[in-house]
Amino acid sequence: MTDQKIIQTKPNTALLLLGCPMVPIQTSAAIYLSAILHKKEIDVTIGGTKAARALIEMADVDRIYTECAGGILDVDKVIETMVDGTFDADVSFVFVHNNAGVAYAATLQTLSAGTIVAVVFGDETMLRTNELTEIGCPVIAAQGSHNPLPLKRKIDEVVSWDA
């Protein structure tokens, strides 16, 4: 499966689920992806840990790039609402750099009726990609922690769909 085929048609809603923000490019990639999706008129919800949310909210204080129809929510709150059936997204991007991220991607695979895309980065992308492939989760991956451009290119490929 190529990256371009992971999302086949234009989604109406998207979730960005952020993990531990210790790897610098997560915040940049999340803000970029949120902006791209917003430009494509897709309603975005961002879920993350307290620190991950604070990094985004401080960097985009006027919510120019992260104007979220669904808001910027605590990661546990997002999971709880998915369990309760009060929230879902057509596509969920789960940011993964550690094995906890893989567990969150697997959890969303169980809870969501939409497409799950793992956005993998950091120093162990091969290991994480293998773990995600094992559970059948589509992956876009770029090795590295500081230069966001390789991951940006992968994001650009995956947010291109047929209609």
Binding site: I79, V83, N98, A100, A103, Y104, A106, T107
Partner: protein, 95 residues
Amino acid sequence: MGCIEKLKYDVIDKHISFKEAAVYIDKNCPEVYEVKPGFKIFDKAMIGIPPVRIGLDGDVVTFPFTKPCYGTFLLRVSDPAEAELIRKNAKTIKK
């Protein structure tokens, strides 16, 4: 999962995989149950890679607990009510 952090728990292991947690539970717990991610334990949805195992030994519940920044821990908590809920709602693997 703030509620779990307020419980009186023992950490059996940390930085483990769900497979390793399952192996420990299968080997060390007299009763073994299986749940899907999102199963509520101590009122919080479980995060995990299926199959997620929960072990019981009387009132003692052994289960994996994932934190975004710290990975997965294997915890043990004594709670009769929660143990009964798991017996009632989870799929039995060994009893």
